[in-house]
């Protein structure tokens, strides 16, 4: 029965798509790497990549960035040999000031970043030591075992629990230009989705930094987590051990020759693991911040592709002869 059916089919639609499919004869595009194609592709890559690279480089160069390392300068000279005891000694004043000289005109908004190096926020133990549910739902949520050893203190749960929150970065900066305080906007520095959906609007810090060992910054227990933007920024863990995090925005332009004095409280301990601390002021454009790498990589790939094209062409012509 099926035989006759398939017979009919066989005779009937010799040209049908299904028949061609079963005979593996579907219309197909069969690109072949012939020399003209190869050369064309190389040139195409080259002629696209080099301009894109140059364009990207220009964008990167148009970004003004000032970077200052302060973790060593801010340690008084008598503590230079034992920075750890300096940072752990509460009696020593931690204030410090930095001077930024503006060499290029910086258009507002100017982003303020703090940069940490050799700090493994991406360590597995660290990454897991948080409770997304608790951040959203507050201390009524109990499945917070990942937060150990900072799950609870004095038999009461900690909100926000875990290592990440506990080690909150707590250096603070104030910016003075000339005599006037520069206004720093410290809102909207966290991701909107974090504020809206990951940190509860009705969740308030509780029992936070009340243990024997106080890690990093403290939180105002009267502000809900969704408004604790420093915490939110900190808790969006970094990808690599060297990272910047957004601190705020200066919403005034800085002119060439301006001096900006930064008054900072150097509270955060990076000395025990030899991590650097830097402060960065940077403008931004459509491409983000200053980074020549992308542009250079484009130019490099583009130009090497042009080189290979020429080499290939020459070899091809020579062997043809």
């Amino acid at each position: 029965m099926s035989e006759t059916n398939s017979d009919r089919q066989r005779r009937g639609d010799r040209e049908s798509a299904f028949y061609l499919f079963t005979q593996q004869r579907l219309p197909a595009c069969k690109p072949v790497l012939t020399p003209p194609w190869v050369i064309t592709i190389y040139f195409l890559v080259g002629f696209i990549f080099v301009p894109v690279g140059l364009f990207t480089l220009r964008a990167s160069h148009s970004v003004v960035e000032i970077e200052e390392r302060y973790d060593i300068e801010c340690v008084p000279s008598q503590f230079r040999n034992d920075k750890v005891s300096y940072i752990q000694d509460d009696s020593v004043p931690k204030n410090c000031s930095l001077l930024f000289k503006v060499d290029k005109y910086m258009k507002a908004p100017i982003y303020i970043y703090y940069q940490l190096e050799n700090y493994y926020q991406n360590h597995r133990r660290y990454v897991r030591s948080r409770s997304d549910q608790q951040l959203l739902h507050g201390r009524n949520f109990h499945g917070t075992s990942y937060c150990q050893p900072l799950e609870s203190s004095n038999n009461r749960p900690i909100v926000p629990c875990g290592l990440i929150a506990w080690s909150l970065f707590n250096d603070t900066f104030t910016f003075i230009r000339g005599k006037a305080l520069l206004k720093v906007n410290r809102t909207n520095i966290a991701w909107k989705s974090d504020r809206d959906h990951k940190f509860g609007k009705n969740v308030y810090p509780f029992n936070f930094q009340n243990g024997t060992w106080i890690g990093g910054g403290k939180l105002n227990p009267r502000i809900p987590l969704s408004n604790q933007e420093d915490l939110i920024v900190w808790m969006r863990i970094s990808a690599l051990p060297s990272f910047r995090k957004l601190y705020g925005r200066i919403e005034e332009d800085l002119d060439v020759g301006d001096y900006v004095v930064v008054q900072l409280m150097n509270d955060y301990n990076t000395y025990s693991f030899g991590g650097k601390k830097k402060l960065v002021l940077s403008t931004s454009n459509w491409l983000g911040g200053k980074n020549d790498f992308l542009g250079l990589a484009y130019v490099f790939v583009g130009s090497s592709s042009l080189t290979v094209a020429i080499v290939f062409m020459l070899l091809h012509l020579r062997s043809q002869r």
């Binding site: 035989e3 079963t22 005979q23 593996q24 004869r25 579907l26 197909a28 069969k30 690109p31 072949v32 790497l33 012939t34 592709i41 890559v45 990207t56 960035e65 982003y111 970043y113 493994y120 991406n122 360590h123 597995r124 133990r125 660290y126 990454v127 997304d132 959203l136 150990q148 900072l150 290592l163 506990w166 991701w191 989705s193 990951k198 890690g215 969006r236 863990i237 970094s238 990808a239 690599l240 051990p241 990272f243 910047r244 957004l246 025990s272 693991f273 940077s282 931004s284 459509w286 491409l287 983000g288 911040g289 200053k290 980074n291 790498f293 992308l294 990589a297 790939v301 070899l315 091809h316």
Partner: protein, 1144 residues
Amino acid sequence: MARVRKSSIHLSKLCSFSCCCRPPSTTDEHARIGQKGYSRVVYCNEPDSQEQIRLNYRGNYVSTTKYTAANFIPKSLFEQFRRVANVYFLVVACVSFSPLAPYSGPSIVVPLIIVIGATMAKEGIEDWHRRIQDVEANNRQVEVYDGNGSFKEIKWKDICVGDLVKVHKDEYFPADLFLLSSGYQDGVCYVETMNLDGETNLKSKHALGVTSVIRDVETVKGFRAVIKCEDPNEHLYSFIGTLYYECQQYSLSPQQILLRGSKLKNTDYIYGVVIFTGHDTKVMQNAMDPPSKRTRIERRMDKIIYVLFITLILVSFIGSLSFGIETKKDNGGDYRRWYLRPDSTTVFFDPRRPLVAAFLHFLTGLMLYGYLIPISLYVSIEICKVLQSIFINQDQAMYDEQTERPAHARTSNLNEELGQVYTILSDKTGTLTCNSMEFVKCSIAGTAYGRGMTEVEVALARKSGEILDEPMAIDAVESGEYVKGFNFRDERIMDGKWMDEPHSDVIQKFFRVLGTCHTAVPEVTESDQIVYEAESADEAAFVIAAREVGFQFFVRDQTSIQLHELDPISGKTVDRVYELLNVLEFSSARRRMSVIIRSPEKQLLLLAKGADSVMFERLSEHGRMFKVQTKEHIERYSEAGLRTMVVAYRELDDDGYKMWEQEYAKAKTSVGADRDDLLDELADRIERDLILLGATAVEDKLQKGVPSCIDKLARARIRIWVLTGDKKGTAINIGYACGLLRPGMKQIVITLELPQIEELEKQGDKDIIAQASLESVEQQIRDGKSQVAKESSTEFGLIIDGKSLFFAVDENRVNCFMDLAMSCATVICCRSSPKQKAVVTRLVKSVTGKTTLAIGDGANDVGMIQEADIGVGISGVEGMQAVMSSDFSIAQFRFLENLLLVHGHWCYRRIAMMICYFFYKNITFGFTLFWFEVYASFSGQPAYNDWYMSCYNVLFTSLPVIALGVFDQDVSASLCLEHPLLYQEGVQNILFRWIRILGWMFNGVLSSIIIFFLTINSITGQAFRNDGHVADYSVLGLTMYTCVVLTVNCQMALSINYFTWIQHLFIWGSITLWFIFLLVYGSIPPPLSTTAYKVFIEACGPSIRFWLTALLVAITTLLPLFTYRAFQTRFRPMEHDKIQTRRS
């Protein structure tokens, strides 16, 4: 009673003795009944008796399924976890719920379940089909005697041992039955055993005289007997048992046994007693899984998996070592990395016990870098192979219109091996030739009839450079009136003209012999045509020849044969009835057959036909009139590759015959070991003093397209060995005809048909013969080798006969012989036995160490087919036994070129590329994880979200690789056939060499480096968007993952060169799917989507830097492979590159 018995003896002469099915039973075997292995007891017609029930034999329910509903899950799971890789993944899945795991448990379990589930589903579907067949078979109806004087229909599965059943014409036997009686008075019945041994001819079975009277409900009612017989076994052609009936013992032989799986033909009904049921039946005992064969590529793939496991362990070790060192540094008073709270930690990160932590981290590493081992590799390969097989089955280029048989891949796991065949070992008859015999010539009364040349003659003529003045090969098609089996053209004979020939009476006798001396059965088809069911194709050709000349055989019953004959006197067709008295059947030992008939003129005649060697010595003094000419003609015919048969007759006198008949009847009814010898002797006594009539010549035609196919295969540099049972001369001639031996070729012949050996054989001292043969063969091999060494530029063909082969494959000489054989382009082994075929196959396989393919069509090729790496069965005339044991079946030899050069090449290429690519994509992915670890102090934090990772193998990279494995073609089918040399890519294994595999792996590592370092340098650090936000862990993960998906899919696009809409859909669809996945997954609330929440919509999508990075990485990772391929294609092109370039 006596009267009935007498007539029954009289009637069963037709199948009086059949030497070919001679039961091997002897008296001492019967004596073993009741002992171990012969303990079965059947109470006939008393299935419900206490004794029978106590024996508790199995029911007739048959299940061929691998699984049952109850054990499917455990059993198929067990099958799955016999693979090392799957066990690894299972362990990983179990451990993934512990804190050791770098990712969440479900994310590793789900892909495992999908992969295992897909494989199990495949198993399940296959098993379901088997189950449907079982159900159909189990529910067929059969009539069973109910013990109360009537028959009722019950289902097959309800039949018990001891039941008395009635089977009607054209029905299958429901179990192994003991034949009681049949619709014929003498208890004969005919069966077709196609499903058992594939032979299409009818076989006769006959009941014992005592039981053949049980033919109606009345006699059945009183029938009680006990059968004691052997236990269930798989031997189809033997049966040992004893019937205890009416205080008498009767020996049973296979003649009384009707096997399940065969079909009743030409008989109205039979009565039988069920002996073996269900799985005890011989056909079920025979059913076993064919030996499982694995391909070279798969074996190498296992090695690659080991390499990857070693890499995995190494990488994990490096990781855990570094982790241990880093963690140890955290110890100390000031707690270096205080933010990790090393003072109060779990054992996994405890700086005070860095060794333990490092060890546990090693386990974590094994899980994390587990992505180096492709979880879906096995299932993907299986899916691909099944789909490839479907393509093979569907291919119209391998569909035989005549028999309506497509090619069939009976196993799907050898597809790519088809592309690597180094040696083909082929049977001749039925494989190279059609095995549909055609009557082409004859010699009657010393005159040769039959015009035209056979293919062999044409080839021979071409070989000697003769100019052909006669029309080319007798081409039946052009004359328009082609009759199957008859290709005889001679105006002197045809259309009744034979009557005007000088010896017209001899001609008449000659064709009468052909028309009557046979065991064929005529069958009238719907269109009133008569077709003959004969035991062999030769026989059918004779009957057809007789019909075409004017001696149409049209009725056979138990006692007579009727012919429509052309009467030379009146010129009209008359019906003549020949009374059939005895049939002395053909056997390979006798090499002749004869019938004794009484003609309408009451003349008693013995008509005989047989091989020339036995027939000529049986001629009477006055019957040798045409002997010289006939012999000459026979020689000429066999040179032309024809099969010859001598035809003779004898007139018997009534008295002599009567005496002989009495003795013969007595011998036939005798029971004992010497019964057959006695019958042989009696036959021999009467087959004497024959009068020669002439000889026939039948051509076993070469199959269509064989020479051109062999030419193509030879151009693909595949070695072809022909292993045949034919005579040396015939084999060589066929060799020329099909182009295996070519004019420029030198022949090396190793034979023992030498005068001195024959001399020794006459003396009969076996030891001396063996010694002399050995020396002779050794000498001939040495000579051959030196000849080959001398003339290295000429091609050689080696021809060796079976006897010499026996000595040549002896342990001490085998290397020497194989050396010689390997240096010859063609090897023909003639006169070889089935066992020798298998031995030679094994030798070739082990000596060359390369893939061998055996192709054959008959039961005698089964050994060879099973022994070879790939067995191909020709589903031709000889039936299905070769096909049943084969891996692939095709209808015609010429389809082999499509199977190998097209499908083999494609499948090889596909699977090789697919595996390489699989490793590439997983190495690329796995190593990006490792590079990230370097930047995460080897803590075991994966770079990506858990679910990105688990979807990698299942969603974003699986379909393109399957498209590659199923659809890719480097060049089209017609170009594959046009350029057979392309096939060498597979034979030399160019696409799956270690260097190439390692190259792909290196490419993977390179890709991962490019992806990781370009991404981290482009994305992280500074703001990555206009609004000043920086890229965090989740953005980096997403960007890298996007780059990985883009890279591996584009690499796929680069490495295939065949794009239909399917490839486009799969490749670009996979990339699109990733972005859709991001959108969907990213909008699930954060507790589930964790780090992936809105990353794409909010952070990456609007970032130009993200897109620029993705483009840069994708192009940069492609460039190394592109450059390699561009240069390689241009300056070191492989065979397929050349063809592609030439075409475009």
